[in-house]
Symmetry: C2
Subunit: 376 residues, 2 copies
């Protein structure tokens, strides 16, 4: 089933534009993104400054600049990775490092906010007593305490992320990155040898991003994920799976993706992290492939959907870690710990649900003619 994305439709019929030279295509894209970056940056700085860390309950509401900045950072970084051949290697590598740094810095506070919303909503739903739809923890005495504990710990984490962000927004490092973006917005530093090439040479490079995604997805236990309620989100994490029939070269006899699960004396955090790792990796590959299609002017709606599914996977996995950590807080009551156990399992169930959704969406990807691109 997983060979569908590799079958044929021509790049032209997929709507991929090869109109223009490499210089025109990449400059057009990167100039626009860098311009958007420079417009969003002061807005994001203003948002962060106007948000009192401690009381920023609704930080999401006034974070349009931050969201836009994240959007640009991801796209510029993706283009520099996928179309690296057109840029000076050292410059592109440095710029990507700096973009990743800003991404990590910017993404944390909104991530904690979303995690807080997700976990408190799950807890409220589980402990809901409304007769119209009560939860399995309806009226449980541990629920309010568990809620307060999670809220306190996530607010603290968010405040720390906010403080770190405020500090770095004044840093020389950010100014240097802004200077790089100013350069990119006016004059994209392409290799002279690449500038005049036909834009069609970008297609095999985009195809490589799509091939990397396909190879990554083939390493996922999609057959296992496609069985609803296999219980795999809780049991048998990282268990060896039936070999996938296609692209055998993409996975050796020893899967390289779960080294931790192979070690003796594993602990829960390690095995869960090892089980999630290949999915998190495919999430990055989906984003790269998605941005590569955007550069080529090809439709990317299906990848947008996969991207959202794997974002959900990542957020549920991160939320589960937060709950497990909260449950190790000293001196909590057994009732609190019990509720946290239920919420933890609930988030791992969300992880499993996201994997199931991915397993359903992946084989239905329409044929993007990626195969032809690779040999274009």
């Amino acid at each position: 089933m997983t060979d569908v994305p590799m079958t044929a439709r021509t790049a032209a019929s997929a709507g991929a534009t090869s109109a223009g030279t490499v210089g025109e295509v990449l400059s057009g894209h990167l100039t626009a993104q860098a311009g958007a970056f420079l417009r969003a940056l002061p807005q994001a700085v203003g948002e962060a400054g106007s948000r009192p860390g401690e009381r920023s309950v609704a930080a999401g509401s006034g974070a349009a600049g931050t969201a836009e900045l994240l959007r640009c950072v991801r796209r510029i970084g993706g283009a520099l990775h996928t179309f690296a051949a057109a840029f000076d290697c050292g410059w592109a590598e440095e710029t990507r490092t700096e973009l990743r740094w800003l991404l990590d810095l910017l993404a944390q506070e909104p991530a904690y906010l979303r995690r807080s919303v997700r976990l408190l909503a799950a807890l409220d739903s589980l402990s809901e007593t409304d007769p119209a739809g009560p939860g399995m923890l309806a009226g449980h005495t541990g629920a309010p305490k568990a809620r307060a504990l999670l809220e306190r710990q996530l607010t603290l984490a968010r405040t720390r992320a906010h403080t770190a962000l405020l500090q770095e927004l004044r840093s020389a490092r950010l100014h240097a990155l802004a200077d790089r973006m100013t350069l990119l917005a006016s004059d994209v530093p392409l290799l002279p040898s690449a500038v005049a090439q036909d834009g069609e040479v970008l297609l095999p490079q985009a195809a490589a991003a799509l091939t990397a995604l396909t190879a990554g997805a083939h390493q996922l236990p999609l057959l296992r994920a496609a069985t609803p309620y296999g219980g795999e989100g809780l049991h048998r994490l990282g268990a060896p799976q039936a070999p996938q029939p296609l692209l055998p070269s993409a996975r050796g006899p020893e899967s390289p993706v779960r080294p931790a699960a192979r070690a003796q004396g594993v602990d829960a955090d390690t095995v869960v992290a090892a089980d999630d790792a290949p999915w998190h990796r495919v999430r990055i590959l989906v984003k790269r492939a998605r941005y590569a299609l955007e550069v080529c002017g090809a439709p990317s709606e299906e990848l947008d959907l996969l991207d959202r599914t794997l974002d959900r996977h990542q957020e549920a996995a991160d939320a589960a870690v937060t709950v497990a950590t909260a449950a190790r807080t000293p001196r909590i009551t057994p009732a609190t710990a019990y509720v946290l156990g239920v919420v933890h399992a609930d988030q791992r169930l969300e992880v499993e649900a996201a994997r199931y959704a991915f397993g359903r969406q992946w084989p239905n990807l329409p044929h993007h003619g990626w195969h032809e691109w690779a040999t274009a």
Copy 2:
């Protein structure tokens, strides 16, 4: 989708035998079952006596007599219910009451044993550290304590059930029931007016059992259950569901099955029990329909499958209650309580998985010509 079981195939083509009179069909069936009951009874008594309650870890291994006795009790009770018109009303009612009493008595100890096996296996799987398939609680410090707690409480419950069984196996009440079965094995007390009737009159009575099952299944939230990972096993228990399009008369505007969930100040045990109740009721209806088909000589494999699915539903639901109860044990550690929370959610996930399986199996029931039977 749920109208499939009502569509047509003739009783004859379904293999239902109407060869013989009512007397021949019912006597043949009940004589055989009562004979098997009388052979299994001393064996079951021997098994119970030879099992030292406290140390009966492997009680399941030597319980073939008990299992056979349970099998006969269920079938005789089912036949007396479904074909009540052929028997003296008072006698059949009394006999069914006594059979239900024995069923409750006999079923408890094996049920506790299965629950113990189920919960300890789930806990072991969740806390498994084998790199080949670790669980989400791998190496968790609370796992051994939670395991010991569950094992202790279930052993205690099983010992109590065993003691109660040993006492009642010597009771006058059991002797009186054995006398009833002796009568049934030699001379089934059919109404004179029914004995000579054509066996075909049993078909509408069997069809009534199947219609009751269909009506019961229509009250289940099958649309909700058919969506994998709806999270309904944990959230939104007893939530109002989209009305099912068929058999509208079987469910009024106010569903009568979840009175507790409509009360104010609900607690978790009550709402979960109310959410499970209609499924447990359908389990009984499946068994009755299955035994009715057996009497009529019609194939019942599909109902056997549904029966096993709903047995799994019941056992997971009961196991979840046991875990929730264990979590209220005073002075347990937070780590123990946390593990019990995960195990509880895991069992509710099993409940949800069983509902999903039922939702897939039910519409695929082959056409048994039940509709024609009803009008035969």
